[in-house]
Subunit: 412 residues, 2 copies
C-alpha cells in the first residue's frame, strides 16, 4: 500500500492516521449537540459542517444525529465514498478543506458519545486459549474444551442497554455468590471483578427474518470494529451461569471505544487464522485470510498511581473469524440490524503475558500480579481504571483504535 | 369489583371487555399508516382520532407512530388516565364518543403490528415444574433442579430482533445437531421444533445504569403483559447450550400477542404464589399477592385441519413472580428501558395436561400425542399452526389477551 501524506499536521504515531479515518459521534464540550465526525490525528473532521460546505455529497441531516445508525444504513457505497472523499480532501494540495479549517475540531475540545444505537449485542467465545483456560478453572482441567467448541463459534446474547462509551465509570455490582463450602448463597458486592479484552464488530446492513449471511458475503454486513471491555463479575457468574449462561455477572456494564474503525481501513492487516481441525461444516468454510493482526494491550491503573500493562494480546489469535461468527449467527434465520454489536469474546494468546482477563492472568486469583506501584492485584479493586488500546501497523502505516477505559466505582 | 356496562355492543365472552382495554398498534388494511389503539369487544378505539377530537388530553402525535414506546414513556399517570378516560367514554350514557363512532374501527378491518420497539429481551425460567422436567430429560433425573434454581430467578438474554407479532410465519431453522452416538455434528433442519408457552411483561419506565428496582417498586416499572411463544429448536439447543446458554436454538423467532394488557387491568386477578422454600435473600422478598390467575391454552392446528388443545396451564403456577424477576435483573445495576420484554419462561403446571412445551408433553419425543384428526405429534411439523390464548376471569369479569399464533414454514 502506498503511504499517503496529509497537509494536516498528524503526529507520526497517531492511531488516527490518514489511512484510518474512523467514524464517531462527538459534541463540543460547551455547545452540546451531537454530530458525526471522522478522527484525524488530534482532530476531528466535522461531517455535518463538511456536508454543509458541500465538500461531500450527503445530506448534513444524517450527520446531525446522536448515533451513526442512519449514516451506516446508507450502505458501504456511500460510507466508503465519504471516507475516501475525506481522505482525498486531507491529502490534496490546495484542498478546499485546507481553506475551511473551521471544519476541523480539536479532539481535546469534544466529548465522545456511544457511536451507535445498539439493537442487539452478541458475545462470542472465539479464543481457543481463553476457552481452554476458563474450562480448566471452572470445569475439568483434563477436558477443558467442551465437545462443541471446535464445531461451533459458541456465543450468547448479551445485554445491549448497559453498553457505554469509553470513560463512563462502572459501579461494582452486587449480587448472589456461593462461598466455598457454604450451603446457601450470600448477597454482597462482587469480589472478583474482572475485565475481558475483546473487540467488537458493528453490523452495517439489515437482513430479514429467515435470511442467512454466508461467509462469502459476511464482510458486506460488517461496518467496522471497536475495542470492547466486557466487564465480568466472576463470583456472580460462577453461581448463576449453569444452565442458561452468564447473566448478571456481565450485564452491569460493557465499555466500547468511541471510534469505529472501518473494515476497509483494516484490509491491509489481514492474516491467516489458526488451522481449524476438525474441519468445519460447509456453512462455516471460508477462503482467504480473515483474521486481523491487531496488537492489543490492557493496562491497569490504580487511583493516583501509574498504569501497569497486564496483557499484550492480538486479535489474530482468534480461532473463529468474524465471517464465521456472522454466518453462524444467521444460519438459523436470525435477522440482524444496522448497529448490532458482535464481540469476539476474551482475546487470549498462548503465553501468560497475552491472557485477556484477570481470571486467567491471576489464574483464578491464585497468582497475584505486582503492579509498578508495588500493590498487588488478583482482580480489579475499587477506583482502578482499566485501559485497553489496540492498533495495526505494517509498512510504516498505522491504523489504531484509540482506547476504551473505565474506572470501577465502589459499590453503593 | 363493580361490573361495568358499555353502550357499545361487546360480546359477552370477549377478551376485550370494558374492564380490559389493552393497548396495541394497528393499521387499516388498505390505508396503511400505523396508529395506537385500545381494543374493545370486536372493535378498536383509534387513539389518534380520539385525541384529535379532544376527547383525551394527549397529543395525537404520540399515537400516530409505529410503536407504543413514546406513549408508554409518558408514564403511568398519563397512560392509566387515557385508559380510564376511554373506559368512562365507553360507559357513560350520551358519551361524546357515542356520537363519533367513526373513532371506532372493526378489528376485522385492521392489521396488527408489533406494539413496541423492543430494546432488550430477557427470558426467565421461573416455572419449577418446567425446570424440573427439563432437568430430568437433559441432565440428571435424580437432581433435576440445579442448586441455584431456588435462590435465583434464573434468566438469560434473548434475541430482540427476531420477536414478531402474532400471525407472522416462522421458518423452520437449520443448524448443527449432534446425532445420538455420532462423533461429529451434522447440519440440517431442526427435527425437534417446539413452542414454549410463556407470558412476557413490557417495561414502562427507564432506569439509569447502576440503579436497582426493589420488589416494592417493581410494579411501577411494568406497563403490561402479553402472550409469548418462545419457539425452540431442541436439537440445536441441546448441542450448543453448554456452557453459555441457548442461542440459535431460540433466536430464529419469538412471537407475541398484539395487545398489551395493562398491569392495572390484571389487578383483580392477583393470587398468592407458591411457597418459596428455602427463604429467598432479602432483595427478593416481597409482600402481598403477586402471582396472577391467568388461564392459558395451547392449540396445535395441522394444515387444513382442526385445532387440538395440547395444554391448559396457568400463569399462577410461576415460582418466581414478576416483581422478583425485575428486582433480580436490576440488582447488579443493569439498566432497563421502556419497551424491554421480560418473559416468564415456559409455564408448566404439575399435571401432564398443563405442560407448556412439546418437549414435556411428548416427554422428549417418547410419547406421541394423537391429535383430533388422527395424526400424531412429538414435535411441531411443517405447516402446523400453534395458537396460544389466555384470559383471567372472576366475578363475571373477563380480561383476556386474544391470541398469539404462528405457522411453521418448511425449511428452505
Amino acid at each position: 500500500m502506498k503511504k499517503l501524506t496529509s497537509w494536516l499536521d498528524i503526529p507520526a504515531d497517531s492511531d488516527f492516521s490518514i489511512h484510518n479515518l474512523p467514524f464517531g459521534i462527538f459534541s463540543k464540550k460547551k455547545k452540546g449537540k451531537t454530530r458525526a465526525g471522522i478522527a484525524i490525528g488530534n482532530q476531528i473532521v466535522d461531517l455535518a459542517a463538511l456536508a454543509e460546505a458541500e465538500l461531500i455529497d450527503v445530506s448534513p441531516f444524517v450527520f446531525r444525529q446522536s448515533t451513526l445508525n442512519d449514516f451506516i444504513a446508507l450502505g458501504k457505497k456511500v460510507t466508503n465514498k465519504v471516507r475516501l472523499d475525506v481522505q482525498r480532501l486531507l491529502v490534496e494540495a490546495d484542498s478546499p478543506l485546507q481553506k475551511k479549517q473551521e471544519i476541523l475540531i480539536l479532539q481535546a475540545d469534544v466529548q465522545m458519545h456511544l457511536p451507535i444505537h445498539i439493537g442487539d449485542y452478541t458475545d462470542f467465545y472465539s479464543s481457543i486459549e481463553h476457552a481452554t483456560n476458563v474450562g480448566k478453572m471452572f470445569r475439568d482441567p483434563e477436558n477443558a474444551l467442551l465437545p462443541n467448541w471446535k464445531h461451533i463459534p459458541v456465543g450468547y446474547h448479551g445485554r445491549a442497554s448497559s453498553i457505554v462509551v469509553s470513560g463512563t465509570p462502572i459501579r461494582r455490582p452486587k449480587g448472589q455468590v456461593m462461598p466455598k463450602d457454604a450451603t446457601a448463597p450470600v448477597f454482597k458486592p462482587s469480589e472478583r471483578l474482572d475485565f475481558e479484552l475483546e473487540m467488537g464488530f458493528i453490523t452495517g446492513k439489515n437482513t430479514q427474518l429467515g435470511d442467512s449471511v454466508s461467509t462469502t458475503d459476511a464482510a458486506d454486513y460488517i461496518f467496522g470494529l471497536v475495542l470492547f471491555n466486557d466487564w465480568s463479575a466472576r463470583d456472580i457468574q460462577k453461581w448463576e451461569y449453569v444452565p442458561l449462561g452468564p447473566f448478571l455477572g456481565k450485564s452491569f456494564g460493557s465499555s466500547m471505544s468511541p471510534w469505529i474503525v472501518t473494515l476497509e481501513a483494516l484490509e491491509p492487516f489481514k492474516v491467516a487464522g489458526p488451522k481449524q481441525d476438525p474441519k468445519v461444516l460447509p456453512y462455516l468454510k471460508y477462503t482467504g485470510k480473515n483474521n486481523y493482526d491487531i496488537q492489543l494491550e490492557v493496562a491497569l491503573q490504580p487511583e493516583n498511581s501509574v498504569a501497569h500493562t497486564v496483557s499484550n494480546s492480538n486479535l489474530k489469535y482468534m480461532y473463529w473469524n468474524m465471517r464465521q461468527q456472522l454466518a453462524h449467527h444467521t444460519i438459523n434465520g436470525c435477522n440482524i440490524n444496522v448497529g448490532d454489536v458482535m464481540a469476539s469474546g476474551t482475546i487470549s494468546g498462548k503465553d501468560e503475558s497475552s491472557y485477556g482477563s484477570m481470571l486467567e492472568i491471576s489464574w483464578g486469583g491464585s497468582k497475584p500480579v505486582t503492579l509498578k506501584d508495588g500493590s498487588t492485584r488478583t482482580f480489579i479493586e475499587d477506583n482502578d481504571t482499566v485501559i485497553m488500546r489496540g492498533f495495526a501497523e505494517k509498512d510504516g502505516i498505522k491504523v489504531g483504535f484509540g482506547e476504551v477505559s473505565g474506572t470501577i466505582l465502589p459499590s453503593d
